[in-house]
């Protein structure tokens, strides 16, 4: 009996050691290994979309910006209708998520509503991926309030002060005497970063509610009379008109100057509306084959018509020049 007990103790000791050593090996080398694994995935996981896989179908993986996801989905559908051998999967998650995925090499195109930071580009290069930036549409960021809010125009500086938490009451900007409820995005959003860097030029008020996407902000502002939000222009429209319950503010460059609405195409292309940005895609390396066809389709006249139809704006000459320099 005693011998048996000792034997079983021995065996379980061995099992124990085995598991322990496995666990330790897994843990201690985690950081270094993690990087290597993601690098490998970059080369293996990309599937060379240009050359096509064995079955003849080409798979393109696109991920990132919530502001861009509907637009790119529409572009992809139109492209797939013309090129049935190509399959394009478009998912959202936020610009930061797309950029993290292209650094890790798990996708072909990252949608991002902000440029990649230098450190992000370096990280991607360290993994053997050279991200090629393409501007494929222009977006005005609409500042929205509830339909019942009397305020119709705000200056860029006022919007910044409101989101920094310096202006807390609507009465300070010509509205009713009520506390301003801030709605914004989460830090994985390109819109969040763009708005912070070009409008706030400072930190968001910690009282801002961090919503998951553009649609969440639209819903929140529709039901909150004292709310304010910022969304990609495409999300304010339902067909050709502004969504019921919502008001898109006119924005002026400086306080006292007349406000400009982002809803008119001419205000965006002329640069009169102050909060506009190009929408980016980052391709993993110079696009080849079907991937290149898709990018060129987006930039074509037909692609730009779809962009306009989805509530965004076509590229300016400067944007086209930018693309010429980056696409070889």
């Amino acid at each position: 009996m005693e011998v048996k007990a000792r034997k079983s103790l021995f065996v379980c000791g061995v099992v124990l050691l085995l598991i322990l050593s496995l666990a330790l090996a897994g843990c201690s080398s985690a950081p270094g290994q993690g990087e290597k694994v993601t690098g490998d995935a970059g080369e293996g996981g990309q599937q060379d979309p240009g050359k096509g896989s064995r079955s003849g179908a080409v798979m393109i993986q696109i991920k990132g910006s919530d502001s861009e996801v509907n637009l790119v989905q529409k572009l992809a559908e139109e492209f797939m209708a013309e090129n049935p051998q190509v399959q394009i999967a478009v998912t959202g998650g936020g610009s930061g998520v797309g950029i993290a995925a292209i650094i890790d090499g798990t996708i072909d195109i990252a949608n991002s509503s902000r440029p990649m930071k230098n450190e992000e580009i370096e990280k991607a290069r360290a993994n053997g991926i050279d991200p090629v930036p393409v501007r494929f549409a222009v977006d005005g960021i609409a500042v929205i309030v509830n339909e019942k809010n009397p305020v119709g125009t705000l200056s860029v500086e006022e919007i910044g002060a409101i989101y920094r938490g310096e202006i807390k009451n609507w009465s300070a900007v010509g509205g009713a005497n009520a506390k301003i409820n801030l709605f914004g995005r989460q830090s994985n959003s390109g819109t969040y970063v763009f708005f912070m860097e070009s409008v706030l030029k400072g930190d968001y008020s910690p009282e801002m509610r961090n919503m998951g996407g553009n649609a969440d902000i639209v819903e929140a502002v529709k039901s909150d009379v004292t709310g304010i939000g910022y969304v990609a222009i495409g999300y304010t429209k339902e067909g050709d008109s502004i969504r019921p319950g919502l008001k898109v503010l006119n924005v002026s460059q400086e306080k006292g100057k007349p406000g400009v609405t982002p809803v008119e195409l001419s205000n965006i292309t002329s640069g009169a509306y102050p909060i506009t940005r190009p929408l980016y895609q980052f391709v993993a390396g110079q696009p080849q084959g079907a991937l290149r066809d898709f990018v060129l389709f987006e930039l074509s006249e037909k692609g730009q018509e779809i962009v306009l139809g989805q509530g965004f704006y076509p590229l300016s000459d400067a944007d086209r020049e930018f693309n010429k320099n980056s696409l070889k």
């Binding site: 379980c12 666990a23 998650g93 970063v193 930190d203 961090n210």
Partner: protein, 292 residues
């Protein structure tokens, strides 16, 4: 025969050990990944004044005090909702309901536990939020109270089934004695059975809270996730788990932000660990107490 019996014994022992090692492995992973942040930022800055803002425009901040406060608000708030309801429900199931009724009610309550949290979150946004804003006259219902109610609903099945066990475990003699002294069934339930089951009910509540504190998706969807210190249940809060879920997707691996999220995870792990341990200890004492 002997070998067979031994090897089967071994297999069971190994499975038991494996789960312990998975736990230890997770703990080790959490700790080793949070270490760089604890070293570079310092434990102090995680627990000092300010708020969580690692992606700040100017100076990054790492304080998680507001987030811990938000987590406990949603946790305790959900208990205020789930415990009275859960205990009443358990008392009904254990004492009042006929076996037939119990057979119908119990599975239905257990279905509650099976509702996907994202569905519940959607329910919170579309139904509970407008309801709260009209009942309390608020501009919106995206706040800690909303999260508490929904998580309370999620914790309900846990509280009901454990509290029912506790109430059923009260020895029949107690009830008989009480009834023999002329007490009504309600008096017996109120003054004898539930007090006797008290520590079991307490443990059930604590386990419910452990569940509530770790809950992510529902809370993420309905509490607004603001970083400021909440002053009431009508304010927007961010919880530890929601904070990790929001930011983990975008951080570059190996960055300071990445490691500081592991610190948040470590804190969450410690909190739920302590709560579950307390619940276990209380439950254990209660069992021994009853059997004596």
């Amino acid at each position: 025969m002997n070998i067979k019996e031994n090897s089967i014994k071994m297999i069971f022992l190994a499975s038991g050990l494996l789960s312990i090692f998975i736990l230890l492995g997770i703990f080790y992973l959490l700790f080793s990944n949070s270490f760089p942040a604890l070293r570079d930022v310092g434990i102090k800055s995680f627990f000092s004044r300010g708020y969580w803002n690692p992606t700040a425009y100017s100076v990054p901040q790492y304080s998680i005090l507001n987030i811990i406060k938000g987590t406990f608000m949603v946790g305790t708030g959900s208990l205020l909702f789930a415990v009275p309801l859960g205990v009443a429900c358990a008392a009904y199931l254990a004492e009042v309901a006929s076996p037939r009724e119990r057979e119908i009610f119990k599975p239905i309550i257990e279905i509650l536990a099976g509702i996907p949290s994202v569905v519940l979150g959607f329910f919170g946004l579309v139904v509970v939020a407008p309801l709260l804003s009209s009942v309390f006259g608020l501009p919106n219902g995206i706040n800690a109270l909303n999260g508490s109610i929904l998580v309370g609903i999620m914790a309900l099945p846990t509280v009901v089934s454990l509290a029912e066990d506790a109430v059923s475990a009260v020895p029949q003699e107690y009830r008989h004695a009480s009834l023999a002294l002329g007490a009504t069934r309600w008096q017996t339930l109120k003054n004898v059975t539930i007090p006797a089951a008290f520590s079991g009910v307490l443990a059930a509540s604590l386990l419910g809270m452990g569940r509530a504190i770790g809950e992510t998706m529902t809370v993420l969807m309905v509490t607004g996730n603001a970083l400021a210190a909440p002053s009431s249940f009508m304010d927007s809060v961010r919880t530890l788990s929601a904070n990790i879920a929001i930011e983990m997707g975008e951080v570059p691996m190996g960055s300071l932000h990445f490691h500081s999220l592991f610190v948040v995870g470590l804190v969450l792990f410690i909190i739920t660990f302590i709560i579950n341990l307390l619940a276990d200890i209380i439950f254990d004492r209660y069992r021994k107490g009853v059997s004596m």
